[in-house]
């Protein structure tokens, strides 16, 4: 029997080897095969905030400026100078920057890219509202002039998530912001291989041989993006067990997310390493509808928040406490604006009795809470179940309605009454860099119909956000961030449910795997 297996194995190996010798080029290409968190379908990083589109854009495009691991803005494609009055930002492009089609990167390309981004990004719109001019000042330089100082300008341009600001050739950047760009030509460290792209299945990148890395050590998205492999292939695998099997069988090199419950399969597995690469992780949040009872009443919102326990939610969501953190800071633990004011109840197991008392004081009349529960997104199925139980214990009437995520995202845009197809409460997740800055945190503005889903009207927080936008010193910013933290906890602009961390796993043939909010493929080497 053993001989039969051995013979079969040799036969297949021989056949495969024979084929490989006929198809492999004369030199050995180094290819990293990775399974990312989802399949790439939308390519334009200005149209969507989808994380996989952002990850793809970081491979192909480069950024003017970039945030490093210390949250400091660093030059990337361009050096920058800020005038003493804080009104003029002058950018000077590095020498040798080229698009993947061979053209030189010019100020006109960058200006068009910034203008397109300003139409879609919240930070970009804030800059645009204060902009006096944006024009070339030389062959390699251009200047952004503001009507009033806006200290957040460089941070908005350097933020890695949400809608990051990528530079594109002018002809692409002139595409209307609501229409996708027709081709993927950037100046980044990798070139997009259009012929091999299969939406939702596979995306292939080749090393950009003309790329000139920025000076300085690699740090998150700043510094040298030194590519040390010939190709990178992202293969989509919808089944987590399959991707794990593929890693164990040596068919892939890198797996961005390993479900925590499957992690024990990798423990002690020779040739496989695993670790949390995004140290800030993600946050889970609950958002209420401010337009309708019962959550139009701040006391009832507070009662709901008091009923919840981060630990209960995170235990149901993640399970293993090594991979979650009870954290009361709405801007995330481990960030410059980490404050925990007002979070005592939710971080210490909830306060059902307190919630009951507050509900009674608020005169809650039993109006059902329409809670939307997505059933097809594994990272969002636990929160509504745990929350519904806690809310019921506190005395809420909960109408939990299961639906697929697409139905939820459509329904959450509806301002109809909850009994008429609207809603009261839903949950979603963000990565910490998306909520870590008050001006980048889309859930904070209280601009009524123009606010994010839930539509709070909250002049007090709008004033604090304006103060933050005008504060140039970190100390002042921190003081305002702390006030925002306390206000959000008191007013319950949203419910902060703590932090969680996704482990990644990779073959030990890879070296240079670095921590970052999401995977970067520059600096990686593959041996053997």
């Amino acid at each position: 029997m053993t001989a039969i297996w051995s013979g079969l194995r040799s036969g297949i190996a021989a056949a495969t080897a024979l084929t490989m010798t006929t198809v492999l080029p004369a030199f050995a290409e180094t290819t990293i095969t990775a399974v990312m968190h989802s399949g790439l379908r939308v390519l334009d990083p200005v149209i969507t905030t989808a994380h996989i589109t952002r990850d793809n854009a970081f491979m192909i495009f480069d950024t003017l400026v970039a945030q490093d691991a210390d949250f400091v803005v660093q030059p990337q494609m361009a050096n920058f100078e800020v005038s003493e009055d804080g009104l003029t930002y002058t950018f000077t492009l590095r020498d040798g920057l080229k698009w993947h089609d061979g053209g030189e990167v010019t100020p006109a390309d960058c200006i068009a890219s910034i203008k397109r981004w300003m139409q879609r990004d919240g930070g970009g719109q804030m800059i645009n509202a204060r902009m006096e001019s944006l024009e070339a000042t030389g062959d390699k330089s251009f200047a952004l002039t503001l009507k009033e100082p806006f200290p957040y300008t460089l941070e908005a341009m350097a933020k890695p998530s949400g809608l990051a600001l990528f530079m594109m050739p002018e002809r692409l950047a002139n595409t209307p912001a609501n229409e996708p760009i027709p081709e993927m030509i950037g100046s980044g460290p990798f070139k997009f291989v259009q012929d091999e792209f299969q939406p939702g299945v596979k995306v292939v990148y080749e090393k950009n041989e003309d790329y000139v890395p920025a000076p300085g050590p690699q740090s998150w998205f700043a510094g040298a993006k030194d590519v040390k492999v010939d190709r990178v292939e992202w293969v989509t695998m919808p089944d987590a067990q399959t991707s794990l099997n593929a890693l164990m069988n040596g068919e892939i090199d890198f797996l961005e997310q390993v479900p925590v419950d499957l992690l024990p399969l990798l423990e002690g597995m020779p040739g496989i390493e695993s670790k949390v690469l995004a140290p800030l992780g993600g946050v889970s949040i609950g958002r209420m509808n401010f337009l309708y009872p019962p959550f139009d009443n701040p006391k009832i919102r507070k009662a709901a928040e008091m009923a919840l326990s981060q630990e209960d939610v995170l235990t149901a969501l993640i399970g293993n406490p090594d991979y979650f953190k009870v954290c009361g800071a709405i801007f995330g633990c481990g960030t410059p604006f980490e404050f925990t004011d007002g979070s005592e109840s939710i971080t210490s197991g909830g306060d059902i009795e307190g919630a009951k008392a507050l509900l009674e004081e608020a005169g809650y009349d039993g109006t059902p809470v329409v809670l939307m529960q997505p059933t097809d997104v594994v990272t969002l199925t636990a929160q509504p179940i745990v929350a519904a139980q806690a809310l019921r214990e506190a005395g809420f009437t909960v109408d939990m309605q299961p639906m697929d995520w697409q139905t939820l995202v459509t329904r959450r845009a509806s301002q109809a009454a909850p009994s008429d197809g609207g809603w009261n409460l839903f949950f979603t997740n963000w990565i910490v860099p998306e909520v870590s800055n008050p001006l980048g945190n889309i859930m904070l503005p209280g601009r009524g119909d123009a606010a994010w889903f839930g539509w709070p009207t909250d002049e007090e927080i709008n004033g604090m956000l304006d103060d933050f936008a005008n504060a140039s010193e970190l100390g002042d910013q921190k003081a305002i961030a702390q006030k925002i933290q306390a206000h959000v906890m008191e007013n319950v602009n949203y419910i902060h449910l703590g932090q969680y961390f996704n482990p990644s796993a990779w073959s030990d043939k890879l070296s240079g795997v670095e921590e970052a909010p999401f995977p970067v493929f520059w600096g990686l080497e593959k041996n053997g």
Partner: protein
């Protein structure tokens, strides 16, 4: 026969038209918004509205329908709302993995299941019959993903004989294609072998009790000749029906098996498109599936007249 064929093909046109109208309306009445998928979680209501406008989703339904029908009549299946790729390219890329796996599965199933069913009927109520029936019940009862994972564990992870997952076109790398096709085909075949073997056995048992079989035996024909020349051919009509519909089912998507083995086939494309509310892709896939069902049914009907001389069109 040619008149019958032509009549059936013409009859398919109103069927496809009804399917087109039904699918179009059903998708538009189902909650979901491709613009929300496209824009992501951070889009504001105003931005979503602009994207809906640019995709033509705010046009009246009848305008959208006639625009789609107009494109279809010129052979244009439209463009994916999400990936912005031509639908015809997306479907064509995903069709071949599915077709190959379906062909291998059905061929393997017929080769194994028909003899199993014949032997079970021939040796009715013997241990071999019980064995075949036990296998059938098991094959039909165990979920495909369980069989899939067990086969992966044994043949890929433990024995290291075959890859865990993936697909390569046979034209690019035939040994690679074959190595990757074995486990998915075996997994799917476990169901179809069970189904076809059971149907072959039942159908053959019916036929073996017919008068003409008794007559054939009375004429002194050998049991083998009775079985294969007189009984099996007449028992083949319901078996062909099962094989045909099984093939159509395989083509229309086997999403669990495609997910377990990471095969980029039509099943996954269908599910992904539904989750993303990618209307043009879903519409094209359902039309394609309907067309395949119509075609397969026609071929099955035509095959009856070859198998059973009593059936004439």
């Amino acid at each position: 026969m040619p008149v019958y064929f032509l009549r059936r093909v013409l009859a398919a046109i109103p069927v496809m038209l009804v399917v087109a109208v039904f699918v179009f309306l059903l998708l538009r009445l189902t909650p979901g918004d491709p613009a929300a998928v496209l824009a992501g979680d951070m889009a504001t209501p105003e931005q979503l509205e602009k994207i809906r406008d640019s995709l033509g989703l705010n046009d009246p339904l009848y305008v959208q329908f006639f625009r789609w029908m107009g494109e279809l009549l010129t052979g244009d299946f439209g463009t994916s709302l999400i990936s912005n790729q031509p639908v015809i390219d997306l479907v064509a890329d995903r069709m071949w993995p599915t077709i190959w796996i379906a062909l291998i599965t059905i061929t393997l199933s017929v080769i194994v299941a028909v003899p199993m069913g014949v032997v079970a009927a021939w040796k009715h109520r013997s241990w071999i019959d019980h064995l075949v029936m036990t296998f059938s019940v098991l094959g039909f009862s165990i979920p495909v993903f369980v069989i899939g994972y067990l086969l992966i564990k044994l043949f890929a992870l433990d024995l290291g004989l075959l890859p865990v997952q993936g697909y390569v076109a046979p034209s690019e790398d035939f040994p690679g294609f074959a190595a990757r096709a074995v486990l998915p085909a075996l997994t799917l075949a476990s169901i179809y072998i069970a189904l076809i073997a059971r149907m072959t056995r039942a159908s053959l048992l019916d036929v073996l009790g017919e008068d003409y079989v008794r007559t054939a035996r009375a004429k002194g024909l050998t049991e083998t000749r009775v079985l294969f020349r007189h009984a099996l051919r007449n028992a083949a009509v319901p078996v062909m029906t099962v094989i045909g519909t099984g093939f159509a089912l395989l083509i229309s998507g086997v999403v669990v098996t495609e997910s377990v083995y990471n095969i980029p086939g039509l099943g996954r494309l269908t599910v992904d498109s539904i989750f993303a509310r990618d209307y043009p892709v879903i519409q094209a896939l359902i039309l394609l599936t309907s067309g395949i069902y119509v075609l397969v049914n026609l071929l099955i009907d035509l095959s009856y007249s070859f198998l059973d001389p009593r059936i004439r069109y």
